[in-house]
Structure formats: C-alpha cells, structure tokens
Amino acid sequence: MLTLQSRVPPGPLEDKWERHKFDMRLVNPANKRKYTVIVVGTGLAGASAAATLSELGYRVVCITYHDSPRRAHSIAAQGGINAAKNYQNDGDSIFRLFYDTIKGGDFRAREANVYRLAQVSVNIIDQCVAQGVPFAREYGGLLANRSFGGAQVSRTFYARGQTGQQLLLGAYQALERQIGRGAVEIHPHTEMLDLVVIDGRARGIVTRHLLTGQVQSHVGDAVVLATGGYGNVFFLSTNARNSNATAIWRAYKRGAAFANPCFTQIHPTCIPVSGDYQSKLTLMSESLRNDGRVWVPRQGGDARPPNEIPDAERDYYLERKYPSFGNLAPRDIASRAAKQVCDEGRGVGPTGLGVYLDFRDAIERLGTRVIAERYGNLFEMYQRITDEDPYRVPMRIYPAVHYTMGGLWVDYNLMSTIPGLHVIGEANFSDHGANRLGASALMQGLADGYFILPYTMGDYLASARPPAVDATAPEFRCAEAEVADRTRRLLAIRGTRTIDSFHRELGAIMWDKCGMARTDGGLREALAAVTALRAEFWRDVMVPGAGEGLNQALEKAGRVADFLELAALICRDALTRTESCGCHFREESQTADGEALRDDERFSYVSAWEYAGPDAPAHLNAEPLDFETVHPSQRSYK
C-alpha cells in the first residue's frame, strides 16, 4: 500500500509556490556539478528541463530515441500556448486561467498545481520571446493572441500553426548550446527500456542503442522522465507514430504509481479516417473553431453537397446546445456532441463518421486573405490529405485520440512515488484533471521544464544526498540482463502475425469500448479481449530481423507489448470510475440532457495504480482532492 503524499505546501493558494521556493533547500553552486541528472526525452518538457538544469550547473545526461532532440513529438503542436498575460485587457488573470483549467479538467486536478501553472505561465512567454521564438505580432510590434476552447478570453500565443515547432526549437537551441559547451551529454538513437531503483531511490536507467543494439546502463543521482503521452495505445491517434508508453510503463513496473490512466482525450477536430491503410490521424487545430462553424444536416441521410444545403436545413449543433461558448466548447463536450449527431445518422462523408467545419461565413466576413493568413498552412494540409479545398467546401472533421491526461503520479515537486524519479510534461498526470483545455499542454511542459523542476530538483538532491553508486551494482546488472532477455524473447517468437496487426486490433478494441463513451459491460469485454490479445501476441507475433543493428520492427514490438499491458490498466481504471467526468463518459452516469454526470461524493480523487506483480491485479490507491478555493460545480458551457 502506497502513501500518496501530495506535499502541497501550506498557506493561501496564491502564496504557496513563492513560499515553497523559499523553503526548499538549495544546492551550493560548487556542488551542483557533482550531481548527475538523467533526463529522458527532449520534447518541450525534457529539452527545457535539460537546458535549464545544465545552465544551473548540474551534469545532465539526456536520452532520446530520436536521431535529434528537435524531432520530439512536441514539434507537431499547432495552435498555441496559453498564458495569463492579459495583454488583450479582456479580463484575464492568473486566477481566471487557473479557474478555467480546473473547471475544464472537470475538477479532477490538484488546485495547488494548477494555480502554480497559471502563475508561471507568464514567465514562459517572456522566456520564449527572449530566445527568439517568432510569435505572431500586431502591427505595432506587440504580441498577438487568439482564443481557444473552454475560455472566454483571448490568451493564446501562437506562431502561425507551428507553435509547438517554434517553442521546441527555442528549447532545443538552448539545449544544443549546452551540448556545444560540453555541459550536456546527449544520447540520441537511444531508448530507455528500464528504470533502476537502488535502496528505494531511482538511480539510473538501462537503454538499448537503436543503431547497434548495445544495452547500456546510465547512472545518475536523479532521473527525469519527460517521455510524453500514451495516446498511441489506440493505434490511430494524432500523436507521432513513434510516441509510446514504454518509459513510464517500465517505471510503473518498478514501483511508480500510474494515475488516472483512463483519462484520455479525444480531440473533436481531426481529419476523418479514410481507409484501413491509415497510419495516423491528422489534427486540424482547435484554433479553427475561432472562425469555423460546426454543423450537420438537420435530416439524416441528406446526401446533397454541403454548399447546396440551405442554412435553415443545417444544424449548428454546438451553437444551439452551448450558446455561450458555441463552437469553442471544450474538447470533451465538442467530441461527444459530434459522436451524438453521427450516432443519430446525421454524420457526413463517405463513412458517415464526420461533421462539417465551415468557413463560409468567416470568409464572407473577413475575406479569403485574412483566413489564409490565420489558417493557411492548416487549409493546405487539409487539402493535401483529402484533395478538397476548404476555402470552397466545408472541412469534414471527426474526433480522434489526441492526448493523455493520465500518467505517472507526481507530488507537488513533480516527483513520483519512487524518490528521485521525477516526471514532467505529458508523461505525468498533474494539471489537466479529466480533460485538458487547448493550448495548455505546451504551457505545462514548459512550466515543468523551465520553472518548476529546476527548483524542486535542487531540493531533492540537497535533502537526499544520494550516495555514490556505479553501473556494476547488481541492480544495474540485473536490469541489463532483463532487457537483453526480453529482446531475445521477442525475436525468438517468429510467429505468423505482424506487429501492426496486433496494434491495430488493440486500437480497435480500445476505441470501441474505451473511447468516447464507456459502459460497464463494454469495459469488461475490452479487458477480456485485451488480455487474450496479449497472450496471442507473445505466442504468435512475427518480429523479423536481429537484435544487433537498426531493427525498427523490434522497437515497435517492444512498444506494442507494453501498450497491451497498459491497455488493461486503462480499462480497469475506467471500470472502477463509475461516474462520468471530463473525457471519461460512463453511459450509466449522465444527466437528463445527456451531459456528463460527475459524482463528487464518491470520486473526487485521483486514482493511483500500484503494480503488484505480473500475475496480480494492480492495486488502486486514492489521493483525495480537496478544493479549498474553487467550488466544484456541474460544468456548464450553455
């Protein structure tokens, strides 16, 4: 049984972080270079943390399976990053960003963490501008903003539709500067396959070099996982193809609690699936909902081309159902609404699984030029994929798996239940509760990496003073042997089914039964199906090639094997949470008009799952959520 200590500092919400910063221990500058911190991942969270820790004087070892840190999945983020700057004078404030985020997350996140996130959001923009991130500007030279879902103020900073790219390049350049100075040791093409815990503390990792197959130990005084989300458990998602859960899953199996695994976000605006060759789904940024109007025909089976359907026969269902937020309703709500109209038989496109996102009115109002300036690259991307021109024909969109709010459990210091193991960015569960608002993942990744972890890491090292260990310790040797053995086992199966066929089947099970709507019966079926599939995988998968040298099939096989285990935990988490909240919609728990019905009496907690061995069911621990400042209300966006 774990003790989940959130370590939220005492005092008023607004003062907690300031006070905590003062109360934390510092490492004296001369001692910093005696400590080695291993950072796994070079996305926004990892690159910003590695660069900053190195600037502070720590020795940093940085690991990524990519060939360059710049290729991390963060590069693909499109729409923007939130910050409570109130540059638009529209009533924004730290408190409002905090409130919107807590409410957007359907009151399933820790108040103190979210408040701190809103506080440091303003520093992020300053930092990024200093680095030369080319944010959009007004003619006068000031920063421009746009709106995102779940907010009524304009607080999103952006660099065309490539905000993630520009923010990541900023962090990447800071990291490369440190690498160039010899202050960060970078290991590209290197995949972490195990965590090493000695005397109860995280002391290193074991990796496989993807080009040589070499298994190697890396020893450190602390380990940071910044390894991103696990949305690819669904096979089809908006995530980069190689994004995976292996790092956090191995840490889980070494004792780190996994929080809220069933909180997986389904984004309302993606290009619909078009065929079974499909390898990923492409997001059309939420920013499009600033100007695009979502609709379906009033009548099911209306096969007329969209432009021939008169306004009176269209149902702008988001505007109808949620008049005050309209097309900018939060993601979970917009996704569910799309599913609903499609379930009613009013979906559009060849599969009937699609709704229109229409720019006709915006183009009439603002002109093609303005729309092109705002969304040109997204329109182009859409046209390239679908062969249709969104300036003339409405886009067709459908929800797709996009982000995972769940992840390794961390305390206020971003440390997991294993002392010394810190988890940042999408890989942790911390700030988004049951639903993440748009433009807040970039904010969280950079908040964690630039402004929070560098402080809390010092406190950990100064308090723990980890004793010296080296890679000859039996724990390292043992983990190396296990990693090598697993590789051998995967290669030895030589079965008849391809890795992708398993992954695709897993994804279909999860999407059908643990996707936008979940039921007790469905989840039980999913659990049984996933368990059977996993057994079949280890019996019948075909992993061609050898263990030495580059073998992309082998990499994929290891990741799918972990997804198969994680999927079962997701289903179990969804099964135990019989309320609906945020993205987690249990059909059994809804209001009369079909909205999610939360049950604060019984479920106002974070589920933190604890590994109990290969054959025992994971153990559920609960961290109760106390709301001292906000009053959890039934969310309304009407």
Binding site: I75, A76, D126, G141, E176, G275, M542, L550, N551
Partner: protein
C-alpha cells in the same frame, strides 16, 4: 493502384547497398507515400522478411524525420511537401518508383533509407541560438518586433531540419539550412548581439562537417518542404562579410 518500387536496400553503414524491386499492388490513391511503404513492409514482415527501414514520426510534415529521394527528387514530386505529405494520387497507376536515401558525404547511410544527420545539430550547437538562460527574461511586450520582421523570422524559422536542401544540392551544401537559422534569429531584435559571432561560428562548423560550398544553383529552395527562399543565403553571406571585415573581439 499497382506499382513497382525500386528501393535501395543496404543492411548497414559499412555494407554495400543495391536496388531491389518490390511489387506494391492494390494501393489506395488516398494513402500517403509512407502509408504505401507501411503496406509493403507489412507484407514483407508477414513473410518474415526484413521491412524497409525508413525514418518517420509525425507524418504531417513538421518533424523532419522522413527523408527520401523519390525518382531522384528529394521528397518526391510534390512541391513544398515532405515525403510524408506526398499522396499516392500524384503517381500514375502502373509506374515504377525509385526510392533512395539522401546522398551526401555528410549524411552517411545507416540502413536502407535511413541516414545520419547529426551534422545539422552540430551546426546549431556552434551558434544557432540566442543566449538567454532561463529566468532572466523581461516582460515579453517590452521587446517590440515589427510584424514584418516577425513574419520574416517565421518564414525562415519554418525549417524542419530534414536535410533535403543538402540532398538536392549538386555541391552537397547545407547553406539553406544554416542560413535559415541565421535569418530567423537575425531578423529579430533579440538576435542582434550575437549576430556576427553566430554567422562566423555556424559557417565554420558547416565547413568542418564537410558540406560543400554554395554556388547558388537554387536546387535547395525547390526541394525545401517549407519552400524557404535562397534569399536567406544572401543574408547569410552579407552577415558573414560584415562579420569578417569587422570581427568582434569575442567571436573566436
């Protein structure tokens, strides 16, 4: 669609490679080029044969992983698109498509279509940044950036670091890549203090990595998936000349 793929297969960095033909039958015209390769690989895997190794990740033209010469053209026939953004509908049914890795001395082949491009990271290490350690920044709106300057910076900053410019250049020059970063940072007020130092160091590193020299063929801008203009190279040359004629004391 039914196609034939002529693919460069090379088991490892030190082993010679060769072209191998594979049938690619029954491919959807709506599939992307990489999805077509997935289908071919899936069929190879099912037979226990080693799939064709290729780099990819985001599959939406932004991570810069995917990189192949398609019929001798970097990223294939679609202008302003990375390989992952090329869809099969642009090829004629029945055609034979030749697929090779980037060919450049600075990008050694690792396996099949995968090359090592870390030379580009080292060019950034040399000076492709603004020195702004975390924490010391002032309020973002205190730095005014004219809209035109921000747009120009963004045009150059759009580079995805794929290396197509190098692969397309008859000289194997990395000038477009290097100049794009110099132009991005040089267009902004924040980038001014290190402007001379940056250009001198990045250009020196580019030479050290054995990239060729630029003679303004312009092939790079045609191949660039982000259509970055060779104007940035002119800017780099101008910065370089200026820095050489009045080198700041701190540059070396």
């Amino acid at each position: 669609m039914d196609l034939t793929l002529r693919v460069w297969r090379q088991p490892g960095p030190t082993v010679p490679g060769r072209f191998v033909d594979y049938p690619a039958q029954d491919i959807s015209a709506d599939a992307s080029f990489l999805e077509m390769l997935d289908v071919v690989n899936e069929r190879l895997s099912a037979r226990g044969e080693e799939p064709i190794a290729f780099s990819h990740d985001c599959r939406e033209g932004i991570c810069g992983s995917c990189a192949m010469m398609i019929d001798g053209v970097a990223h294939g026939p679609v202008r302003g698109a990375a390989t992952c953004q090329v869809h099969m509908r642009v090829f004629a049914d029945g055609s034979t498509i030749t697929v090779e890795p980037w060919r450049s001395a600075a990008f050694p082949v690792i396996k099949d279509l995968v090359t090592e491009r870390s030379a580009l990271d080292r060019i950034i290490q040399a000076g492709g940044f603004i020195t702004a350690p975390t924490g010391g920044a002032r309020d973002a709106n205190e730095i005014l950036v004219a809209k035109d300057a921000a747009e120009a910076a963004m045009d150059a900053a759009a580079c995805i670091g794929c290396g197509a410019c190098v692969a397309a250049c008859p000289n194997g020059s990395a000038s477009l890549f290097t100049a794009a970063k110099i132009a991005h940072l040089g267009a902004l007020p924040q980038g001014q203090p290190e402007r001379s130092r940056r250009v001198l160091r990045m250009v020196a590193q580019m030479d050290e990595e054995r990239f060729g020299h630029c003679t303004l063929f312009g092939e790079c801008q045609e191949a660039c998936p982000k259509l970055i203009s060779i104007d940035v190279i002119a800017r780099m040359n101008r910065d370089f000349l200026r820095a050489c004629t009045s080198p700041p004391a701190s540059a070396w």
